[in-house]
């Protein structure tokens, strides 16, 4: 498969469970090294980087994990501030300000002292988003940003992702099988199917597709060329 994302663009990769969407993201941030092929970020082959360079590159990236992946040994505030504490000489007082600002951005103002275990699913995802944004990343990766959320919270997350991309010019790559979310946040949608990119296009083009497999997927039907697994 071959896929390129332009700077400032919002790409959504759709596909069925188990087609390797999350694996795709993990390759992009270098969590998994590819058996074959290359992944380039800003023209740099992620695979060729040593541990230290990779960690440095990741400071420009943010990733929102499916379950949030908040560190449950820390409070929400410590979670959001951890990258600032580790990578910048910022004094504690200023870190607190940035943490408060990022939490406010995701609609969680004043939750610094809470433990992740006391948050609902949607709050966890928003707190995790605040953590991913703490270092003002240039590229954001979203792994199933709306899965497991109620429709209203899902819409909040969708708007947030869109707003970040439009206002802050963050390049964003999301993987999802939630079509509502895909239409909302994508400039371009790519469908991953059987290990390759089956189709790519703007949301309107995807919606108007005649391709039977894509059609079946976006309509969420069990009848068609894609067999239920």
């Amino acid at each position: 498969m071959d896929l390129t994302v332009a700077r400032g663009e919002s790409l959504v990769v759709i596909g069925r469970s188990g087609t390797g969407k999350s694996v795709l993201l993990k390759h992009a941030v270098g969590l998994i090294r590819p058996d074959r092929g290359t992944v380039r970020v800003n023209g740099i082959d992620v695979n060729s980087l040593g541990e230290a360079e990779l960690l440095a590159l990741r400071e420009q990236m943010g990733m929102l994990f499916q379950g949030g992946a908040l560190f449950d040994s820390m409070s929400v505030g410590e979670n959001v501030g951890i990258a600032l504490r580790e990578h910048t000489p910022m004094p504690e007082r200023q870190i607190d300000l940035v943490v408060a600002e990022k939490l406010a951005l995701v609609g969680l103002a004043g939750t610094e002292a809470l433990r992740p275990s006391s948050l609902s699913g949607g709050m966890k995802k928003r707190a995790a988003l605040a953590r991913a944004l703490a270092m003002n990343p240039k590229i954001m990766f979203y792994d199933e940003p709306t899965t497991g959320l109620d429709p209203i919270t899902a819409d909040v997350i969708n708007r947030l992702i869109r707003r970040l991309q439009e206002r802050l010019k963050i390049t964003s790559i999301a993987v999802t099988h939630d079509m509502r979310s895909a239409y909302h946040i994508a400039d371009r949608i790519a469908m991953l199917h059987e290990g390759r990119i089956h189709a790519v296009g703007a949301p309107a083009e995807i919606q108007a597709t005649r391709d039977p497999a894509l059609r079946q997927f976006i309509e969420g039907s069990s009848e068609g060329p894609l067999l239920p697994t």
Partner: protein, 266 residues
């Protein structure tokens, strides 16, 4: 082409060996990165202190109870074997020596290995399967520096500390049993303890404890970090960490004893 049963059976020892070797290789790679990250990880003082409290202070009651009964049973058994053959003045000697050289460090390591190895493996394993380790890496933070090194340092410092306490308590346990139930006077016990007492015995016990701490932390972190597949995977990682710690503690105990008493202090 699918393998026949005979071929699979023939390949089994190779596969088993290969898997063990790969596992051992991964342990050494982890040890290598621990050493590399050691200076940076040591600067995370609050994390190290937290782990010291969890590993050291948290294990103290357990280690003390184990030591108390170890000393007590050593006194009962030694006096039983000494009866009619060996003067009771040697009761203190044998208890002191066996506790300081062998029982103190090894039994402390085995119980702490169970407790700490399991909790480290379970904690890191849960972080792994809930993608917290991945999240840490994407935040540009090295899990080895942030999670492994503090546990490693805490274990290699606290195991000798726990062993010192265990030694003292075990000897005290032996003393209590000797004086209260075995008709040996306190003076006889203490004289025996002082007779042939060598500082090098204590030091060799503490050297052992240092290596046992290393084993416990490394096994807990190794199996925790590579666990996969949800709750079941975490459970398996925890079991493996404890089993591997206990086995390695006994094997390394033999190797260290050979080195310390046949080479270093021979």
């Amino acid at each position: 082409m699918s393998e026949t049963g005979a071929e699979a059976a023939a390949a089994w020892p190779q596969r088993f060996l290969l898997a063990r070797l790969q596992n051992a290789g991964e342990v050494f790679i982890l040890l290598g990165s621990i050493l590399r990250e050691l200076p940076a990880g040591m600067q995370k003082l609050p994390l190290v202190v937290n782990q010291m409290a969890a590993i050291g202070i948290g294990s103290m009651p357990l280690a003390i109870i184990v030591a108390l009964f170890t000393g007590a049973v050593a006194a009962v058994q030694a006096s039983y074997q000494f009866r009619d053959y060996v003067p009771m003045i040697y009761l203190g000697t044998v208890i002191g020596k066996s506790v300081v050289i062998e029982l103190g460090p090894v039994l402390t390591a085995l119980v702490v290995g169970g407790r700490v190895g399991a909790s480290v493996a379970a904690e890191l394993g849960t972080m792994r399967v809930t993608e917290q380790i991945d999240a840490m890496e994407t935040l540009g933070i090295s899990p080895v520096r942030y999670l492994v090194v503090p546990r490693f340092v805490a274990a290699i410092v606290m195991l000798p500390v726990l062993t010192i306490f265990a030694d003292v308590v075990a000897i005290f346990g032996g003393y209590l049993v000797s004086v209260l139930t075995l008709d040996v006077s306190g003076h006889t016990f203490v004289s025996g303890l002082k007779l042939y007492f060598k500082v090098q015995d204590v030091i060799s016990g503490l050297i052992k404890a240092f290596f046992f701490g290393m084993i416990i932390a490394t096994m807990g972190c190794h199996y925790g970090l590579r666990s996969e597949g949800g709750a079941e995977g975490v459970g398996e990682a925890t079991t493996r960490a404890v089993v591997a710690s206990c086995l390695l503690i006994l094997i390394v105990d033999y190797l260290l004893a050979s080195f310390l008493f046949r080479v270093l202090f021979a």
